[in-house]
């Protein structure tokens, strides 16, 4: 390539020969300038030729903030960072421009527990580990009993995040509270601090430990599950990234769940796929939150279990029994 003579020459010349006349110096300078210009022109010509040779091959990409961009195939390079690091970065960053919100209609829950099973399957959990659980609730003996699906409330003021000593569990700007398996030291302070009993521990070897052994850790899916660390509801952050509804929401057969974006003021029913206005849904049905008096600011709303079209059927499995 037309490498340019380093300009150190230009300076060293007059230094070497102090007796050189001014005219000679100016002449040398002129020669050097001409050389530089020629070299630069040659470089530019070469570059333009290279560019034109591959021009026309454009590739289209979707960026992290959901913009479609066109990139020349010449510019496309494999990411320098390892996959694990990228997953970590994305997982902690979240999906800017969104505020995910959850509405659970208690009048529709018939305790099918399809949400529980879909969740346990997606996150490779044991049958006794619940990111989401349906609880049998009754305020007092004069009020009717009802089934209450209870995921993590993804509080905006999460007590679990406050007490974590190593920043393993964190609140993401778009709503969900996640847990980092690679960071968690297993002190269980978050379990103690959570008033909703939403956090579980991998007390022993996880169910699919051998099968998931070589998988790159995805913080948004919390797979592979790791022994001695916390696992919890992740609002199916991996599905949100793909533009899909959470596992539990889309697996419900009874239309219990609405999920959506608070910024857009819309939520979509996971069963009927009907999209409704969030503010109207909340105000028309007298929505409430779980224990708002604790100051946790939950991101999950409940619609009261009114006018249920079927009787309450208690489950035999709900109450823990001696084996």
């Amino acid at each position: 390539m037309g490498e340019v003579i380093p300009d150190s020459n230009q300076e060293s010349q007059p230094e070497k020969n102090k007796k050189t006349s001014r005219r000679k110096f100016v002449r040398n300078l002129g020669l050097l300038g001409a050389g530089l210009a020629t070299g630069a022109a040659a470089l530019e010509a070469g570059h333009l030729f290279q560019k034109s040779k591959f021009k026309g091959k454009k590739e289209v990409f979707l960026t992290q903030d959901n913009r479609l961009v066109e990139v020349d195939s010449l510019e496309v390079k494999a990411h320098e960072k390892p996959a694990a690091e990228i997953l970590q970065e994305h997982g902690r960053e979240g999906l800017p421009g969104h505020r995910w919100i959850w509405v659970i209609d208690l009048s529709k829950c018939r305790n099918a527990r399809k949400c529980v099973m879909a969740c346990q399957e997606a996150h490779h959990l044991r049958p006794d580990q619940f990111h989401i659980n349906t609880l049998e609730m009754q305020e007092n003996k004069h009020t009717p009993a009802y089934h209450m699906p209870k995921p993590c409330q993804h509080c905006d003021n999460p007590p679990c995040v406050a007490v974590c000593p190593v920043d393993a569990t964190f609140k993401r700007p778009d709503g969900p509270v996640l847990i980092d398996n690679e960071r968690c030291i297993g002190c269980r302070f978050c379990i103690a601090a959570c008033p909703y009993s939403a956090r579980m521990m991998n007390w022993s070897k996880p169910k699919y430990a051998d099968q998931d052994k070589d998988q790159v850790y995805n913080i948004e899916l919390n797979i592979p599950q790791k022994i001695g660390t916390i696992t919890k509801c992740l609002m199916s952050s991996d599905r949100l990234r793909e533009g899909k509804l959470p596992y539990c929401v889309s697996s419900c057969p009874n239309g219990v769940y609405y999920f959506g974006d608070e910024y857009e003021d819309t939520v979509t029913n996971g069963t009927t796929k009907e999209t409704v206005r969030l503010s109207a849904l909340l105000s028309e049905n007298a929505a409430y939150q779980l224990m708002p008096e604790l100051g946790t600011k939950p991101r999950v709303y409940y619609l009261p279990p009114e006018k249920r079209p079927y009787p309450f059927e208690p489950s035999n499995d709900a109450e823990p029994k001696k084996a």
Partner: protein, 468 residues
């Protein structure tokens, strides 16, 4: 054994006679090490198969280990009470007890640090607490203050002992060479000069003042591990004082037990007299009265109101599944000892020691009562899980791992008491008006020379200053 030790030599001999390897010592250490090895095997199981080998599960996730941690932190607080508070007030009878209190403080604080590692799901990530530590987390505060308290207690154990090490090196020459070497290193060229004495006294005073807020901090912060959550039974503004006053009870009883066995096994009767036991008995009554007062507050105030969620946790302790343990602890560990110790006849060494053991056991179970039952009643019901998720039962492995902490503690206490005098030689001699002059300070000349050099240095410094 001299009934009324009257010379420095006799005092020194009396107070160092236990520093030798005896058959009972070997047997005792053998027993402790064997016990520790068995328990370490249990810990290996936990390392291999995870915390699941213990009985703790998702709902009651803090069990024996954490109760044990609180107990160890609590008991270590007594160093501050005896050396710090009583020492600074200038109470004379604590002189022979202060070092025993520091042994208890050092031993319990050190093991508290080990116990909390046993409770971690990932002990290999311990360094993360320092690498990624978040200031918001009470665990971060706890790690900081417990470490600081341990260092301060260790200094308070070591620094007042410096003159002792020189005296016993001078008077006693039967120690093994390695021990003499340790004495020489730890005595930091002490020559009993007035300037050195002044520095030492000032240093000890600073440490005694520092140890008081630090001791209050360790147990207040430990109580905050619980009180900073919204759980009923833990969500109490009284938890800091509740823990600190309880700590004085368990610590004082631990010191009394240690005093009794040191006096008996190391033949220290003329130094740890019945008077000392009587005084310690009275101190125990005082701290138990304070603790009783705090207990009444802690249970009567929520008990009067019986708010829905709190009522469930509280009534479970008063008349439910935890009632037997609760009332045993309150009656046998607090109220009954309190009544008995009012009588001076009970405050003699043997009965006082037996009562102290009951109080100490009660103090351990009290920590269990604080930690476990509050988790049995979360706000939302425990459903669709196996039976052992709802009712916590410690496993054998868990109990063995917990016991390992006591073996380690006894090993530390035994070694410290076998390597160094348990009663301050220098201070005891000084208090008895025995002559401690510079007769053992043979390095004096060297020191003076050093002082001269220092002076020369100053001169040089002045020159430098002039040049500038």
């Amino acid at each position: 054994m001299n009934e009324n030790p009257s010379t420095l030599e006799i005092v020194t001999k009396d107070l160092t006679s236990h520093i030798r390897i005896t058959k009972p010592f070997m047997l005792w250490m053998g027993f402790l090490i064997l016990g520790l090895l068995v328990c370490l095997f249990a810990y290996l199981q936990q390392l291999r198969y995870g915390l699941g080998v213990a009985g703790i599960r998702d709902y009651i996730s803090w069990g024996l280990y954490l109760a044990n941690f609180v107990f160890f932190v609590a008991t270590s607080l007594v160093g501050m009470l005896i050396s710090g508070v009583l020492g600074l007030i200038g109470i004379k009878w604590v002189t022979p007890i202060s070092r025993i209190a520091e042994i208890i403080a050092v031993g319990f604080a050190a093991i508290a640090g080990v116990v909390i590692i046993m409770d971690m799901g990932h002990p290999d990530r311990l360094a993360y607490v320092f690498l990624y530590g978040r200031f918001q987390s009470p665990i971060f505060w706890d790690v900081t203050v417990v470490t600081t308290y341990f260092v301060l207690s260790f200094l308070l154990y070591l620094i007042p002992m410096i003159p002792d090490l020189v005296i016993i090196r001078k008077w006693i020459d039967k120690f093994p060479a390695w021990l003499t070497k340790i004495y020489r290193i730890l005595s930091f060229n002490w020559t009993n000069k007035p300037e050195q004495n002044k520095i030492l006294q000032r240093l000890v005073r600073i440490l005694l003042i520092l140890i008081i807020p630090m001791a209050l901090a360790i147990h207040t912060v430990t109580s905050w591990l619980f009180a900073m959550t919204t759980r009923t039974g833990w969500d109490s503004t009284l938890f800091g004082p509740y823990f600190v006053t309880g700590a004085f009870v368990s610590g004082t009883s631990a010191v009394i037990i240690a005093m009794y066995f040191f006096r008996k096994n190391y033949k220290l009767d003329p130094y740890l007299t019945d008077l000392h036991f009587n005084k310690m008995g009275k101190l125990l009554v005082l701290v138990m009265l304070v603790y009783l007062y705090v207990n009444i507050n802690e249970f009567l105030v929520p008990g009067y109101k019986l708010k829905t969620a709190e009522a469930i946790t509280l009534l479970d302790q008063l008349e439910g599944s935890n009632a037997v343990m609760f009332w045993l602890v309150q009656i046998c560990g607090l109220i009954l000892p309190l009544i008995l110790l009012v009588f001076s006849k009970i405050r003699r060494p043997l009965p006082l020691m037996i009562i102290s053991i009951a109080v100490l056991i009660g103090a351990w179970f009290k920590r269990y009562i604080i930690v476990v039952p509050a988790q049995e009643h979360p706000f939302l019901p425990i459903q669709y899980v196996p039976y052992n998720f709802k009712f916590y039962t410690p496993t054998l492995i868990e109990i063995a791992i917990t016991m390992s902490s006591f073996f380690m503690l006894l090993i530390i206490i035994t070694l410290l008491s076998k390597m160094f005098p348990v009663i301050p030689v220098y201070e005891t001699a000084k208090e008895r008006g025995l002559v401690i002059n510079d007769e053992y300070a043979n390095d004096e000349y060297a020191n003076d020379k050093y002082a001269n050099d220092e002076y020369a240095n100053d001169e040089y410094a002045n020159d430098e200053y002039a040049n500038n």
